[in-house]
């Protein structure tokens, strides 16, 4: 069952990449709207259909409620599907006659290339989105004309809530190991890991069955190379390379940590959820993970749970937004865009924060003192100040996640070295962006 599902997904993706692209894009380029944008909504009754996944949908459901109270003439029908199924069926659904008006975009993928969603630049201008969001947040949804280079070009989705990856730590274990202040540089982080090891603790919890060691590698790499340079690579911009001093240090450090016993021996056979479980049970002083697990970790560790942006003088984080796009087939694109603009309203921001996302409007985030959420909001603030948000390396190409999973596993198993790792990743990137 499992294998056939995976296979099915692969076949679908492969077929879609080649087969459905040409027909669909022709259709869409004719439908591209132009002319001035109608801001707001009229008194006319409008029904919009929105599709999402349960994890981001929880917040959007309450945003919809707030929106409908304010603008009763608009009805928004909500539908969701689990993330794997959603990604598989999204393009077909957008191409069908029952296309939704608003759709969650998990990655740019082939959806933009196939012309299935609208270029929102006109709306961005009308609603001043570039003043609302830091450029690193919006750039993740800008796609150049080739359909695969990100960071420049038209804007294809508007962000709702944000996620970020940083470092969780167990305050009690850290204090016991004599780590008094949170590390602020990579060197200090390594010292802390060494102290933890000396105290008989597992320094860094890690589950790499699905390749999550790539989080640590990216964070070390981008804090050394700088967020801007790192982002160029994830965006697939010409001339970017993975072979940077930062990424090399990252691969070196990870192998060194493995040798010194800083990482769990079974990391390659542990999935993310099991690693979270182990961390909440006190195995591991540090743990690199995203804010999506904040509730699970906060519930179990209570006031012992802490979070910092990855130790670096200039704060960076891996992160992306839950972002919504408008279907090229939507007959009510203006109303849909008005809803997208509502996604950064105080009401929407509060709903996003309640569901565990970092909101666009940070004043809506009111975490309790002493909770891990408080730490995450602080880290998020720092990252924004330094404009340090970088998209996931795993999304750099359609197959990058698989490649990173395989090569980080080889790295931890000592089957490849830093040279081999960096080359394998860059070769994979060149296949799409070269």
């Amino acid at each position: 069952m499992k294998i056939s599902r995976v296979l099915a997904g692969a076949v679908l993706v492969a077929l879609c990449g080649t087969a459905c692209a040409p027909g669909a894009s022709k259709e869409a380029s004719g439908a591209e709207p132009s002319g001035p944008v109608k801001k707001g909504v009229t008194d006319e009754k409008v029904t919009l259909k929105l599709v999402s996944t349960p994890e981001s949908g929880a917040a959007v459901k309450s945003v919809i409620k707030a929106f409908e109270v304010k603008y009763p003439q608009v009805t928004i029908e909500y539908e969701d599907n689990s993330v794997d199924d959603y990604n598989k069926a999204l393009n077909l659904s957008l191409a069908s006659d029952q296309a939704p008006d608003i759709a969650l975009l998990n990655s740019v993928g082939t959806t933009v290339k196939d012309g299935l969603v609208l270029d929102l630049s006109r709306y961005a201008k009308a609603y001043d989105w570039d003043k609302t969001y830091p450029s690193t947040q919006l750039n993740q949804w800008r796609v150049a004309e080739d359909g695969s280079t990100l960071g420049t070009g038209g804007l294809y989705a508007a962000p709702a809530g944000f996620s970020l990856v940083g470092v969780y730590y167990n305050k009690a274990k850290a204090a016991k190991a004599g780590i008094t202040t949170p590390p602020a540089t990579l060197e200090e982080f390594e010292d802390a890991l060494a102290k933890a090891k000396k105290a008989g603790e597992l320094p860094l919890q890690l589950g790499n069955q699905q390749g999550h060691a790539s989080f640590a590698i990216q964070l070390i790499g981008q804090s050394a190379d700088g967020a801007e340079k790192a982002a160029q690579w994830t965006f697939g911009q010409k001339g970017a390379t993975f072979d940077t001093p930062g990424n090399r240090t990252a691969a070196d450090r990870l192998t060194a940590w493995k040798k010194k016993g800083y990482l769990p021996g079974s990391a390659n056979g542990t999935d993310l959820q099991t690693a979270v479980d182990k961390f909440t049970k006190g195995r591991g002083v540090y743990f690199v993970d995203g804010n999506w697990d904040a509730e699970k970790i906060g519930d179990k560790l209570g006031k012992d749970a802490g979070f910092i942006a990855f130790p670096s003088p200039k704060a960076t984080a891996i992160g992306t937004s839950v972002a919504y796009a408008i279907s090229s087939k939507s007959k009510n694109a203006d109303a849909a865009a008005f809803f997208l603009d509502f996604l950064h309203s105080p009401e929407a921001s509060a709903a996003e924060f309640r569901a565990g996302f970092m909101p666009a409007d940070l004043t809506a985030a009111k975490p309790q003192d002493g909770t891990v959420m408080k730490d995450i909001v602080t880290a998020w603030g720092r990252v924004n100040e330094d404009n340090g948000l970088v998209g996931f390396n795993n999304n750099a190409t359609a197959t990058m996640n698989d490649k990173l999973t395989a090569t980080t596993q080889e790295l931890l198993a000592n089957r490849t070295d830093t040279d081999g790792f960096v080359k394998a990743i860059q070769d994979e990137w060149t296949k799409t962006h070269g």
Binding site: S4, D84, D85, Q273, V276
Partner: protein, 268 residues
Amino acid sequence: MTKQLPRLALTVAAAAVLFPFLALFTAALQPQSNLSPGLSWPSDPQWGNFATAWTTAGFGSLLKSSAVIALGVVPIALVLATLAGYGLATMRLKAKGPLFALLMLGLALPYEAIVIPLYYDLDSAGLLNTYWAVILPLVGLFMPFGVFWMRTHFESLPKELLEAAAVDGANSWRTLTRVLLPTAVPALTTLGLLYFMWAWNQFLLALVLIQDPAMRTAPSGLGKFVQQYGKNIPLLSAGTFIVIAPIVLVYLLFQRHFIKGILQGAVK
């Protein structure tokens, strides 16, 4: 000792089958905050998980569509497989060999490869987003196996049976309905049961060809408990029980026939 050995082997085999279910069952009763339930009886069994799973995934409508699809597929596929198997087994046809070989090709074809073309075909036929979009392709996909199965059954019958029917003046329709079909009940039941199970669990076709999530099949409900960065294992386990319960019930009802059908194949 020789008497005990088979018993021991059967016990081990039964345990091997039951063990995963036991693990599933204890996992289904854990509190939802449990991230990696091991094999242990929960101190406070959460029977409510079944109800929560039912409402979260909307199993009411999903089980209904699985039933509509399965009950639509089984009779059509059984009739077609019987007729084709009968023809291939007993009649003299010119292109019988190549025809059969062509059908057998279908067994080797991964159906995932045809999902996208199917989407566009059904779109042009206006059948997308209806139960027919899943029922009709499934009937087609089930044919190779069914025809092979029924042909084998009809060939295993003694030739004398057909000859006697012919001597008594029965035409081929009467031969099929009055002489052959009564012997085919176990084979048909088994085939029907397999078809039912496959159609019930069909996931990919329903996902791609039906847009309305409420019209999809039961297994698609399990997706609600799997998220991008983790899964709700207790609810996933509870949902799994809900999805497999109808199949287990159907199997229990037809158990005797099923075993007869399998054994019949074994003798041949």
